[in-house]
Subunit: 216 residues, 2 copies
């Protein structure tokens, strides 16, 4: 079995974690475990959703794959030199993972742990500068792969679904990834085309920034 | 405030619920609450993920919007005439909602509750016949809207994200929906094109069916 660990922390973004989970758990040879500092419920940014952490960092000391979600809670964690408890865990497990990956501002945690030094990487569009300040080189690409280093980063929130499909291809084969895509009926048909900074107009960006004031 | 209720039940599919949640909670005028038969943790199909139910059906008797997720657990619920406790709740709250919606096999629960009688509707591709047997008329469309009846159904799993963007447009305005799309960086770039039954080849379908035996 391949064990995928998804670390959670206070004020994470749910879809960053649940998008990849949903793809990966479709594969019978892959198990997913949600880990945290303690075995407890972890709440999203706004507190409206709680996910169960079923294991502690100590319990899961050799996962095959790590998927680090983002969320506004990352900003607190990167204030600790090295990324705090989660940063220490990432440094300790990364040497033996097949892939260490992030979604959205989860990249800030990889960077704070020292895993992105000098590498190109992606993150949520609004965190590009923070990522660069932590030693990585932001590129506005949806998924950035460094296969020799076994590091993959995905852009904001929903991009974790795209990354997870690629992960299944790398871990199993292309047919498995396509089966997962069919099983989650991922044939995206967004009603608008405003999902990237380069595509959204100024009015959309202004509204997004207004919403971020109220719901960070 | 607009209150969105997402009912959970044992063996639900996480992304069905969390995709729409992630879009809707970006809007400061929208609150989301996860409801269930009891205030407790609810587990997904495979038991690998638990989500917190913060309110009971009795607590939330007049939500503005309902989003019903699917999952293999629906098959047990529809064996009860009328869809059991969740079916009773759906019948009781629907008359005063702005929109009653479903993702994936959540449509089976709307149908079992009698809300889809004679209407076209969509669901996960593998549940089309079950949906028809419950009185709806399956169409292989990603999102099916009946605005006079205030009913919207979405196809399998990931389609709830597309539906939620449209819901935001209906509830607030198009600019709000585009801002939500930008905030979740929903600029999908799946690495393959196998996300719909009409697009997946026979080998992909065979692999998907094989996986469904192990992880239903």
């Amino acid at each position: 079995m391949t064990l995928v660990a998804i670390p959670l922390f206070p004020r994470f973004t749910a879809l960053d974690a649940v998008g990849p989970y949903e793809v990966l758990q479709r594969i019978p040879s892959i198990d997913v475990v949600f880990v945290g500092s303690r075995r407890d419920e972890m709440r999203t940014e706004n507190g409206m959703l709680g996910l169960a952490c079923d294991a502690t960092f100590d319990d899961v000391d050799a996962p095959d794959v790590v998927v680090v979600p983002g969320g506004i809670g990352t900003r607190e964690l990167i204030r600790d030199d090295g990324g705090g408890a989660i940063g220490g865990w990432l440094r300790s497990v990364h040497p033996t993972t097949a892939f260490t990956t992030s979604v959205c501002t989860g990249a800030l945690l990889l960077a704070a742990a020292g895993l992105l030094d000098g590498l190109t990487a992606t993150t949520h569009w609004r965190a590009a500068e923070v990522l660069n300040d932590l030693g990585a080189r932001y590129v506005p690409t949806r998924v950035v792969e460094h296969l020799p280093q076994r590091i993959i980063t995905a852009a904001g929130v929903s991009s974790g679904i795209d990354m997870a499909l690629r992960l299944v291809e790398l871990l199993v084969d292309r047919q498995a990834a396509q089966a997962a895509q069919l099983l989650i009926e991922y044939d995206p048909q967004p009603p608008f085309d405003a999902g990237a900074l380069a595509k959204a107009g100024e009015a959309t960006l202004a509204r997004a920034n207004e919403y971020l004031q109220a719901r960070p």
